[in-house]
Symmetry: C2
Subunit: 302 residues, 2 copies
Amino acid sequence: MKEIIECVPNFSTSDSEIVKAILDEVRGIEKAYLLDYTYDDYYSRLVVSYVGNRDSVLSAAINTAKKAIELINMNKHEGQHPRIGAVDVVPFIPIRNVEIEDCVELARKFGRTLTEECGVPIYLYGEAATKPERNDLDWVRRGEYEKLEEMMKKPERKPDFGSGSPHPTAGATITGARQVMVGFNVNLGTSNMEIARKIAKAMHAKKGGLAYVKAMATEIPNKNMTQIGMSITSFEKTPLHRVFELIRIEANRYNVPIVSSEFCGLAPLKTITDAAQHYLKIDNLTEDRVLEIAIQRATEKG
Amino acid sequence: MKEIIECVPNFSTSDSEIVKAILDEVRGIEKAYLLDYTYDDYYSRLVVSYVGNRDSVLSAAINTAKKAIELINMNKHEGQHPRIGAVDVVPFIPIRNVEIEDCVELARKFGRTLTEECGVPIYLYGEAATKPERNDLDWVRRGEYEKLEEMMKKPERKPDFGSGSPHPTAGATITGARQVMVGFNVNLGTSNMEIARKIAKAMHAKKGGLAYVKAMATEIPNKNMTQIGMSITSFEKTPLHRVFELIRIEANRYNVPIVSSEFCGLAPLKTITDAAQHYLKIDNLTEDRVLEIAIQRATEKG
């Protein structure tokens, strides 16, 4: 495959039938390849990952979004993750033989189509943002779906495409382009949300935590656990071991153990080799010294 | 590539011109792909890794061996790693769409050719062994090159191919088939070989250490360090973190720190994901959840 683009759309649902219907739209597109999906009741959010070329990724993005807009009613939606729409956010990510500018163009095409064909207003974010503050997802999502109509009346929250009011059941959609990032969630052995919020705050970049980390606290019902849900936007610069060990230190303060952790979505190889390098004190572990990658690269050339 | 076999020959040299001549023989074979090579003065040993199909791997094995036999004189060789020949050991390893039996057949073909065309006696080991004790490299190497002539006179050390006496400058060669294994070396912050030997012994399976681990102590000149050099024959069953943490515990006993570690040769992905899973307490990290691998597998199908 010459060019590879990844798309990681987030939908506001944890209904298994709606999940299936959305995934089937990816499976129905030739040369689009479903890589992964995860959804949880407590987030009530579906995160899908697929790859393809420009055409197949755009088609899959449009078809999945249309299906989600058809089936999800935001007026009935509850979940702990901030969101403003049924198709909450759709990032396009350059993987191989494409530039970030190509992904910006895809995001604009996707957004325009969604506005024209479904009447959903669109915000562009990340590298596709038209104003500096829109770079930041949190800024665009302020007020969430519940206050979306009110927020959209403010001049600074005018959408990039579409009218100044939300779609009646699907709200609004954010789309854009970004580099690969990591979703990493750490589960704490406490149900005390106050402690979890303090730890999330300690990790969050803008609140004094680690650069390139966004962190939020979530309740995990029926397990007596809370979760620090994180996005790490530059895992090369802020590696996982630093995130994990700093959470451990902050949690020790409250006598709270780390029970487990998980990737939300796929794990870039470098996050794994960096963790192994740190904990096993390895000097010479680059990605191309991983057997499977070395074989792939060597035989592709030949 | 339909079938993939890996070959990891070990040659008794650290002379950079001989190293280059041997590597050039791999590069000269169509559809043989050089993945990696390492050599050190203190081991005086070159470990090469390449992949290919049955024909290309066999041709590369024969050509590199002939070059090494031509250029290496074992009567002048010194090094800390046990060895019995210029071409010390040549394992064939099934990677994709081949069985271990195919690799046994390759080893036998390779061995027979080396005996017939170069007069080097051959021992078959691993899955190709003709007697249970020959499964074990250590057993076959007992006495090393220096006592090879004497050892070969013993009925139980009669080679599988060739006469009962060593090649005058190249000694004997061991070849066979095995599964992927890991070379992992841990550097200790002490130059005291007595301590290093005690730690190596504590790790070595047959001496009461961890199953599937072979360990030896080595001096690293000019760095005030010693090294625990290990082969881990089943890294699925005895993962790296267990090896590393046990060395740490044994070394603590002597107030010796672990300075660093390194892979000798390539690192199978599972060694890395297992280490990340352990230290970061990750619940859901399988190899197919690594982004690069997921993309490779998904797009290969399509």
